[in-house]
């Protein structure tokens, strides 16, 4: 098992936290993980991204030129990362924010209106969780239960209020991803 995941969007969309959640879940599932954010003046442009590697083997580079999966939360990110995803890899789009679909035929695309889905629970910021849930379901790299457990742990103390909505977003993402997958 080995996934190299890029999560990319604007600042404020919870990109970094989504990646950390995946990484924590990976650890909890007994896997090797690395997480690395964009850093330094790159942040300036208003974009944010991070790379997460989860693997059953020791991990080499925490950076990836060709992700096996990408969570794309805005159009500039789509432009940048669509061509980079590995053949056979997964493109996960928030279709509320990224209207254009992929033109590639060698990748799996799952487009979910994540922001809208999350908005249904009154928490559009939880769109990142929708995507994480979807990624987990689509790749199986970490278990949904683990994600939920870790999310409780991480949000537990300070953000208990938003926990329920985030959990629902996670689950909803997982379900939607499964639905949109060719069986």
């Amino acid at each position: 098992m080995h996934e190299e995941i890029i999560i990319s969007g604007f600042g404020g969309q919870g990109v970094l936290f989504a990646g950390q959640l995946l990484a924590y879940a990976g650890v909890a599932d007994g896997l090797h993980v690395t997480w690395i954010p964009s850093y330094g003046p790159e942040m300036r442009g208003g974009t944010a991204h991070c790379e997460v590697v989860i693997s059953s083997e020791e991990i080499g580079s925490p950076l990836t030129a060709h992700p096996t999966a990408a969570i794309i939360l805005n159009s500039p990110s789509m432009e940048k990362y669509e061509p980079l995803v590995k053949a056979g890899g997964l493109l996960l789009l928030d279709s509320s924010l990224v209207p254009q679909g992929t033109t590639r035929h060698d990748v799996r695309e799952i487009a979910l209106p994540a922001k809208e889905i999350a908005a249904e629970f009154g928490m559009p910021q939880a769109a990142n969780m929708v995507m994480v849930g979807a990624l987990a379901a689509a790749t199986g790299i970490v278990r949904l239960e683990t994600l939920e457990r870790v999310l409780k742990l991480k949000l537990g103390e300070r953000h208990a209020g938003s926990l329920e909505a985030n959990l629902r977003a996670l689950r909803c993402g997982a379900v939607s991803a499964k639905e949109s997958m060719p069986v």
């Binding site: 442009g45 208003g46 805005n74 159009s75 500039p76």
Partner: protein
Amino acid sequence: MRGTITIDENRCKGCELCTAVCPKHLIHMSGSFSMRGYHPAVLQDPELACTGCLLCSTICPDSAITVYREGRAK
């Protein structure tokens, strides 16, 4: 004096500073994203109240605003 402004959507970063300095409150933020991911400022001046006073262009950090005035060539 009558004036108006144009705002370069590609330069505007949505900082909202111009909205605050406009004495006539003519500048508002767009609801939609620009290509760079910002909500750009737009002039809403149905009553042609803009005087071309230069306050918005002076405060704009991104030189996104061009200011015009009636009859007064630069």
